[in-house]
């Protein structure tokens, strides 16, 4: 599964269970995020043992996008048996703060900042 546009791409690797975000996500509201939400929900539904959310190359995510990720983390948390890892990078200023919220939503979530 993958979503590719000029500004960003989201790729799910079914073998490694990595969801890799790349580029800059500035979509307008939940409606424009629908395809990404669908991809994330599909991954959650498969209930893999571990999901890695790789955001290293996502240099911007607006508040609607952060809200989408938060909902995803809540979805994963509800399923209990999935181990969740979020990889960020210090070069992306938005991540230092926003990714903290994800960890608060799911204390077992492993946050790795590169």
């Amino acid at each position: 599964m993958e979503i590719k546009t000029e500004n960003y791409k989201v790729v799910y690797d079914e073998v490694s269970n990595n969801i890799v975000f790349d580029g800059s996500l500035r979509l307008n509201g939940t409606a424009e995020y629908a395809s990404i939400t669908e991809l994330l929900n599909n991954v959650a539904q498969q209930e893999p043992e571990k999901i890695v959310l790789d955001l290293k190359e996502l240099n911007f995510l607006n508040s609607s996008g952060i809200s989408i990720l938060s909902k995803f983390v809540i979805n994963i948390r509800r399923r209990k048996n999935i181990q969740m890892v979020v990889i960020g990078a210090k070069k992306n200023p938005w991540q230092g703060k926003s990714l903290k919220n994800l960890q608060r939503l799911m204390p077992s979530l492993k946050l790795e900042m590169e």
Partner: protein
Amino acid sequence: MTTDSQSQLSLSHLRHELRTPINAIIGYSEMIVEEFEDLGSDPPYLQELEEIRDCGAELLVSINNFLNPAIPPTSELEWEQIVTNPELKIQLQKLTNLVINNCQQLIPTIETELVPDVEKINLAANKLLEEINNLLKTSPGKNSLTISPKIPPQVVEEDYFFEPETISEIDIIIDSGVLLAQEDEQPLDPSKYTILIVDDNATNRDLLSRQVKTQGYKAAVARDGRQAIQKIKTGAYDLILLDIIMPEINGYQVLKWIRAGAWRHIPTIMISALDEIDSVVKCIEMGAADYLAKPFNPTLLKARLGACLEQKRLRDQESSYLDKLALANEEIKTLNGCLKAENMRLSTELEVTQRLQMMLLPKEQELSQIEGLEIAGFMEPADEVGGDYYDVLQHHGRITIGIGDVTGHGLESGVLMLMVQTAVRTLMENNETDPKKFFEVLNRTIYKNVQRMDSDKNLSLCLVNYHEGVLNLSGQHEEMLVIRAGGTVERVDTIDLGFPIGLEETIEDFVFQAQINLHQGDVVILYTDGITEAENNLGIHYGLENLCAIVQQNWQESAQDIRQAVIENLRSHIGVEKVYDDITLVVLKQK
């Protein structure tokens, strides 16, 4: 009418009258022969039947030879010579008697169910004999009375004169195997088709109906033009076999009526004698699908019916596609209407939401009455209203400044923002001063409503309490900027002071308070991401650095002037680009 044309007319008429019984002889005999052929049986009396059929064919040839001369008669005398030609009489009588003899032999020997058909042949042959005997008494002046009261239509005046070869050519076509091969590919289910047979001659009606039924079609009959029109109006016919020469309303008139009305899609095959080819041409020009010559050849009839009905089926299919297309068009129109209504609704929704957002904003006058602080607020809803919130509330000398941003856009975001405003005011009026409790109750209130709304929205919210030079802030939102008198900037991170409202059922554990002391001339800036994330034509954000810089340059100005400086600077960054998010700015300045 001149005598010449009268003579010609009469010849044509004569041929027509003589051919009618001959057609019956050929028609019935051929039908019986075909039935046996289809059954694959070879009865002993087949020879007699074939002889009858052949006699019929010879009779037709004789009539054409004698009564359709290459040079038409120019006077009554010439006409009489043609008609009273003893050779003609002998020839016709000989063949007709042969038919009658064969019938006499057949009637006692043939299967009982075929006897009526043979009797019909016999009757036709006797009628023919009578007509032949009448020939000698006939003259162009009186023939119409002695032969028949029927006047053929005008078009037949322009008679067509066949060369014998032409006739045989047509015969060859009739018997060619191409037509037989085609009929094997017949994709139609004949039982679904009803064919209307219009002929004033009962024998023709009978012959045609039986041939049509033999081929599996349903048959209906009309005995004249008037009845045909009546039936077409009330019945559902897939094809019409239409005789040209009929009393009162003739075939042309019926055809003209069919083509002019709602039934023009019904294919019409004209029934005509071979020497009426001009009439046939005229009919085809008028829109007839095809023609069928008398005597009726079953193979040809089958091929023509098949071809016409196939064409009709394709046409019906096409018109059904057109109907579907028209239906789809209608649907598109309806959808378009819905879209217009939806656009109208959206623009109404936008207006409502914008008004909701603006109506609860603190008034300038309220702000000017606040002691110790200069406050200037600014809010501009985006084209698609977001859910920005800012408020300044005063209660028992306590001032609370709130700023927040509901995710997403539209009415739902606007409504959520109103709820937040009310909840904050309620908690203040209830003297709730503990930030943890304040945010916990606020969050639960919003969370439960968001659940009820089945919404996926949440919001950032920061509340700033001011009392005598001290700011206490809680809640998670954008960084708060403090620009000290002199221009030093302090950025206050609010991530650890709270949590998004309405996302989780409880957030108490995440709520903390930070305290800032303000001195005279210090400026505090609260804003939403509509400012920092405003894009220019290259997609570059306005950014926090720009915001800090512009306030730094203007710290000594009044709160209103700082607000104006920021907004102007922001607008010059955005240029003509679309504003995607609400823009909210609150400037506080310690007096």
